[in-house]
């Protein structure tokens, strides 16, 4: 790789299958949920990689594999060039300091019976980096940093609103000065007016500490706003990845095009003009994914080859070299995939 120093995390061909057990006396594995099936990506230093996809496409599973929370079935995860795939607990420990997570649910991810100071101080205790007064001071500095009142050190999570709780989660993730923070739907549970507060905070922290983010969200506008590069996943595989603007403005994979056209934009004129691509049906089951291209049963451009041959993730003609698409028949510029846009009534 030409700029290896620039790469913080490299994931190669990562596979995670969950076994499905039969109901008999001897619990045999009868099938497997192919949650992540051969995904490669890179997160660059100080940058944000946005991960987009619908429920069940494997984005959270992928995040948990990278964080080392669950073992991977096959493939490799490199952190700063070192292989951290399925490391034993003790060997993984120094890397856990470098990779932290922020979770979606600010209610479920904080222990309601512990005080905020103790929650944010946990990482110091676990890694024995600070104790006593020193820990308290560090926690209060963190609270200030994320926009919480340090005097609220002794309060319980229930005394905070949703947005403030998410700040607590951010402070906890920040405690050990990690290099990578995996944000799994960090603003999905928040109201619109609060969401922007947390997004701004994340942007500030990135600028100040040179953090890298792996940012998972289903809100496409949010992902576009925060991300430098975007990866679109469908049913455990990468459909398309590349620089944010390139993927958003010139989507080559029919799935990304449909996903982007389906996202409601808060702009009536744009909504009326947009050529909306309405996909038929639902996402198929990852237990028994479709053959060939996994998107073919819902794809408006599908042909015979899509049912048999799996497309390779590669740069298509006319795209920048960092823009990769896994499709036999990529969308051409100006091509109308949609049925005609809905006409404005009256």
């Amino acid at each position: 790789m030409s700029c290896a120093d620039d790469v913080l995390v490299r994931v190669e061909n990562l596979v995670k299958h969950f076994p499905v057990y039969g109901s008999g006396l001897i619990r045999r594995s009868v099938a497997s949920v192919q949650a992540v099936d051969g995904v490669s990506l890179t997160v660059r230093r100080g940058r944000t990689l946005g991960l987009v996809g619908e429920t069940g496409c494997g984005k959270s599973t992928l995040a948990r594999c990278i964080a080392g929370l669950i073992p991977v079935s096959s493939g490799k995860v490199y952190f700063e060039g070192k292989d951290i795939t399925n490391l034993p607990r003790r060997a993984m420990r120094p890397f856990r300091r470098e990779i932290q997570m922020i979770f979606q649910d600010p209610y479920g991810s904080l222990n309601p019976r512990r005080r905020v100071g103790a929650i944010i101080g946990d990482p110091f205790a676990v890694h024995r980096t600070a104790s006593g007064q020193q820990r308290k001071r560090a926690v209060q500095e963190l609270m200030e940093r994320v926009g919480l009142n340090p005097e609220h050190y002794n309060r319980f999570p229930a005394e905070f609103s949703g947005g403030q709780r998410q700040r607590i989660g951010v402070a906890r993730a920040l405690a050990l000065r990690p290099k990578l923070i995996i944000c799994d739907e960090p603003v999905s549970a928040l109201d619109v007016s609060i969401q922007a507060q947390v997004l701004n905070l994340l942007a500030d922290l990135q600028a100040d500490f040179g953090l890298s983010y792996l940012f998972i969200a289903h809100d496409l506008e949010v992902v576009r706003h925060v991300s430098d590069a975007v990866t679109v996943m469908y049913l455990g595989r990468v459909a398309e990845s590349g620089p944010g603007d390139s993927v958003y403005d010139h989507s080559r994979h029919p799935y990304s095009a449909a996903l982007l056209s389906a996202a409601p934009a808060a702009d009536p004129d744009a909504a009326a003009q947009r050529q909306r691509i309405i996909l038929a049906g639902d996402v198929p089951s990852p237990i028994n994914p479709p053959s060939g291209c996994r998107f073919h049963p819902r794809c408006p451009k599908a042909q015979d080859i899509c049912r048999t041959a799996e497309p390779v993730l590669e740069t298509k003609l006319g795209d920048p070299s960092t823009h990769l698409t896994a499709c036999h028949f990529p969308v051409e510029a100006g091509e109308v995939l949609a049925r005609a846009g809905r006409k404005e009534r009256r």
Binding site: A262, A263, I278, D282
Partner: protein, 364 residues
């Protein structure tokens, strides 16, 4: 005459901690074949507002009037309400999994609804209707699927079943309470498309409750923005998005990331929504408002006409001409604020500007 005309509706819930004033004097109307979008954040009273119309808020004290097709829904006895539910007004709830009974087949659940309102229909006829309805909402193989249980359907398909139930008695008004919030983007597009199509086929009025401005931009004709149990602004869809008057509407629009706005920084609304038990005096939005003036602290503004079109109404003390997101409107607002702000309001404004939420991390 409007299909539904709600005037000065108030709903409050007495609790041990005090009275929760969920809805505080809201008026609106819905016309046949049109869609009214009600937008607001959690706790703004939008769901209570619509549920109180159908008597679904036990323990709530309701006042005001809600004329639906010549009948006042407020204070109506259960028996008469029952005749209106489903047939006159039906509801699509947010979470299709908890709204369907897990132990009954979906066909049975649709038939139950049909037969509860029309006892002359035989079981066989009702089943035929259910099959037909499932087909209309786009469920493949409806004849087989009527015998499936809710868990055998995906989220989007369950929401289609809910819609089939909602249209089963050809209601005049459908209340859709966050119908797509639990769904993915591509499925959300399918459901919104379906709702619009059904509405056009049967001239049904739609009351769309959502927190998602994108959904409103897509589907509504008129919009009511709610804050702390009151209507902050009422306007046509275009006016709401392009000529907002109320600072809360403006704040909402500016706080969502949009690809069209080429700024790196979002402009969030500072602070948190107020408690509905202890509302701030004056305008409920003043502790978060960048344009807070003296009168905002003591007097709550009523909805009044703003802009040049008569339909556009806003509950804010800023000059009526200060509409839109442009510089001219901003100048008008600044002027008004300069004249109308002294002592106490200036302190509130300082506190808002200094709040950590406004920048996320300004504390040095």
């Amino acid at each position: 005459m409007s299909l539904l005309e709600v005037t000065d509706l108030q709903v409050s819930f007495p609790t041990a901690d005090g009275v929760v004033q969920a809805v505080r004097g809201v008026s609106f109307s819905v016309e046949r074949g049109r869609t009214l979008g009600i937008v607001g954040e959690s706790g703004s009273g939008k769901t209570v507002l619509t549920q109180s119309l159908l008597g679904l808020t036990p323990g709530g004290q309701i006042s005001g009037t809600a004329m639906f097709d010549g009948v006042n829904l407020v204070g109506l006895d259960q028996k008469s309400l029952r005749r209106i539910r489903g047939k006159g007004i039906s509801v699509i709830f947010q979470d299709p999994l908890t709204s369907l009974h897990p132990l009954y087949k979906v066909g049975w659940q649709i038939c139950e609804m049909i037969r509860a309102h029309d006892t002359s229909i035989s079981k066989g006829q009702a089943t035929e209707r259910a099959v037909d309805l499932l087909g209309r909402v786009g469920i493949p193989n409806p004849r087989e699927r009527v015998n499936d249980y809710p868990h055998q359907f995906s989220g989007g398909m369950r929401q289609r079943v809910m819609i089939a139930m909602a249209i089963s008695l050809s209601p005049k008004l459908i209340i859709a309470d966050e119908p797509t919030t639990a769904l993915d983007a591509t499925v959300q597009a399918q459901i919104l498309d379906l709702l619009l199509r059904l509405q056009q086929e049967s001239d049904t009025a739609l009351l769309m409750i959502t927190h998602d401005l994108g959904v409103v931009a897509d589907i509504a004709d008129n919009v009511m923005v709610m804050y702390a149990g009151r209507a902050a602004e009422k306007a046509t869809k275009r006016d709401t998005f392009y000529q907002p008057h109320h600072p809360y509407t403006k704040g909402l629009l500016e706080s969502i990331p949009r690809s069209s706005a080429a700024t790196d920084r979002l402009k969030p609304v500072t602070g948190q929504p107020p408690s509905l038990i202890r509302l701030p005096p004056g305008c409920a939005f003043h502790p978060r408002c960048a344009y807070v003036m003296d009168r905002c602290l003591s007097a709550e503004p009523e909805l009044h006409p703003v802009g040049d079109a008569g339909e556009h109404r806003s509950a804010c003390w800023l000059p009526a001409a200060a509409i839109g997101l442009g510089d001219a409107a901003e100048d008008l607002r600044r002027q008004a604020v300069e004249q109308g702000r002294s002592g106490k309001a200036a302190k509130v404004a300082e506190a808002i500007a200094a709040a950590p939420e406004s920048e996320g991390s300004v504390i040095a």
